[in-house]
Every structure is written in C-alpha cells, then in structure tokens.
C-alpha cells in the first residue's frame, strides 16, 4: 500500500517472527531515534564493526559468541558522594528477561577503570549493591574469573553473569539490577574539591547482555518415509529422467 508508513504495514502482519520483533523493538515512527551518543554508541559501533562487514554480513571470525548483544544504560544513578576522595554511584539497570525468546549466555559490566575528571586522576571499580550488608565482591563466575579484563586502553569488562542469573534472570516481570560504581581519587590530587556531580552525567558504566535466540529454527524436515527416502537416494535422477 503505497504511502502507508512502514509501521502500519508491520502492524498488519504481526505474526511473522521478524515483524513481531520489529514491532516490539522498533520505536514508533513518531518517536525520533532516541539520542544515544557518547561512549555507549561508540562502544557498540566498535562491537558492530568487529562482528559484521559494511554490508551487514556477520563476519566468520566474529568473537561475540552470541546472536544478540544488548547495551543497557543505567536508569538513573543515585550519587552518594562521600566526603573526600571516594565517590559512590548506585546504578540501576532495567532488565526485561524476555527469557522465552532469548537465552542469556553472558552479562558483563563495562566501565572506565581509570579516567580523568576536571584534572583529577580517578581509579574506579564496580561492586554488587546489596540492601543490607554491601558485600564488596562478585562471586567468581564459572567462565573465567570476574576479575575485570581490560578491553581497549580505556574500557574494562567485568563478567557478572552468575550474579545476574542467580538474582534476577529467572524472575518474572521487570527487574532492576543494582550495582555500585566506586571511584577513588588517585594520589597527588587529594585535598582539592572534586566536582563529583559531573560524574553522574557521564556514561561511565553500562551493562552488556549477550543472548542466543532460543527460536527453534524451522523444524528440520521430517525424515521422508523410508520408501521415498530410498528412492531419493538411489533413483533420484529416475523421475527427472522420466520427465525429461
């Protein structure tokens, strides 16, 4: 139907898998593309370029090990700035465990381990946020240690798969993963008042969720009845020849 906006077309055929997903994931036309710039966008563009070529063909040697990677930005960070050299941000990440369609295979926190803010040199790390007794370590996850692995010179990726799967993934409804992002002023810059409030606006940390589709691909064609199977094997050219 010429001229109809594509979302209207999509709505008419919601049964097809892709259409259904597009309806779920695609913000409506009236909704301009949510402005996501800065570090998160740059990080995902780099991940995309490592995983697919300029035409969108997935690279044979891609290493993400998943068919879908979602970068989740913190809802709103509640900064609780302690006096002096420490700064703690409590970050909340909304999880939408659409576990029916996707299997969570990895969850990581990506953040700046070291960076400069207003001339101060900061060293940061991430801890689980627990209501009562904040514990300051992640359970060591099965896949390699949860010790942060330095990605490129600036990003650190810490595996928190077990933490997410244990606490949140198998619960229904929307859940919020809470973590603490703690930064410490490095030696030599104490004493001066650090503009910590600038921190909350920075994209200093985000969550990466790696999924595989659980969609069973089109059911493998049932085995042909024995007779026809034999026929196909031995005399498959017979029919072709006879017709010819």
């Amino acid at each position: 139907k010429v001229g109809q906006p594509s979302t209207a077309l999509l709505a008419e055929a919601p049964t097809l898998p892709l259409i259904q997903e597009l309806l779920e994931e695609a913000p409506g036309k009236q909704q301009r593309k949510p402005q996501v710039q800065g570090h998160p966008m740059r990080y995902m563009l780099e991940l995309y370029q490592r995983s697919a070529d300029a035409h969108g063909h997935p690279r044979e040697n891609r290493t993400i090990g998943a068919t879908m990677v979602r970068l989740v930005r913190p809802l709103a960070n509640v900064a609780r700035t302690l006096r002096g050299p420490r700064h703690i941000q409590t970050l909340g990440f909304p999880l939408r465990p659409n576990w029916m369609a996707y299997q969570l295979i990895r969850a990581t926190m990506v953040y700046h381990h070291h960076f400069h803010l207003a001339g101060f040199h900061l060293s940061c790390h991430v801890e689980p946020w627990v209501q009562k007794n904040p514990s300051n370590h992640f359970p060591s996850s099965g896949r390699g240690s949860s010790k942060p692995s330095l990605l490129s010179k600036s990003w650190t990726e810490m595996d928190i798969t077990q933490h997410v799967q244990q606490r949140l993934w198998n619960h229904k409804g929307h859940r919020v993963l809470r973590l603490r992002f703690i930064c410490q002023q490095q030696k030599g810059s104490e004493g001066l008042e650090l503009p910590w409030h600038d921190m909350s606006s920075l994209d200093t940390a985000f969550l990466l969720l790696y999924f595989n589709d659980t969609h069973k691909s089109v059911q493998k064609a049932k085995l042909l009845p024995r007779g026809l199977e034999e026929f196909k094997k031995k005399d498959s050219s017979l029919l072709l020849q006879r017709a010819r």
Binding site: A26, H57, R70, L240
Partner: protein, 125 residues
Amino acid sequence: RAAIIASKIPGPAQEHVGSESNQCSLHHFQVSFHQLGWDHWIIAPNLYTPNYCKGACPRVLHYGLNSPNHAIIQNLVNELVDQNVPQPSCVPYKYAPISILLVEANGSILYKEYKDMIAQSCTCR
C-alpha cells in the same frame, strides 16, 4: 503419455533458445533502511541487499534449480491433469543472515543477527 510429452518438450539445446533470459533466477537488489522507513531506529548497516527471485519455471526443471520432486509432479499435473494447478513458482532457495545495530525505544543499543534476510539462490517449487 509421458513419452508424448517428452517428444513435445524442446530438447536441451532448443530449451535454451530464447527463454533463457526469463528463466527463474536471482536478481540483485539493494535498499536503504530509510526507504523501508526504519532509519529512525536502525544505525547500521546503511544499505541492505535482500535480492529476489524472478522468472519462469521451465517445464523441465534442470538441476541448477534445486527443485524437489514435488515440483516435477506439479508440472506434470499442470500439463496432464488440471491446468488450474499452477506451475511451480520461482522462490528463494538459500538465505543469509545480516547483523543490525539498532536503538530501542528505551535507549538501549542492540546488536542483533537476523536470519534469512538475504536471498542467495533460487528454486522452482
């Protein structure tokens, strides 16, 4: 009666005369996500090549068309039994996936591989 048909069907040499150009085959086709009205949420790639299959399905379905036996039967039925049964159609046979980078309504950024998005070969069935 199959022999009668066989005699009418032009030999392989004649088969290729003239009708080759409109035989079922893969046609290259590229679109932008802007043309599909999806550029407000798809970041990459800019261009996408779904391709398509078009052309007549010959009465003699040569090997290159990857046709199942059913297509041969359907041709015979159309020829011998009931012309209301259509001849087989020219449709994609093999597909390839593409990776898409998109922004979701809640501001999350998604890398996703969608299966069966590019037609790579055609068949009559």
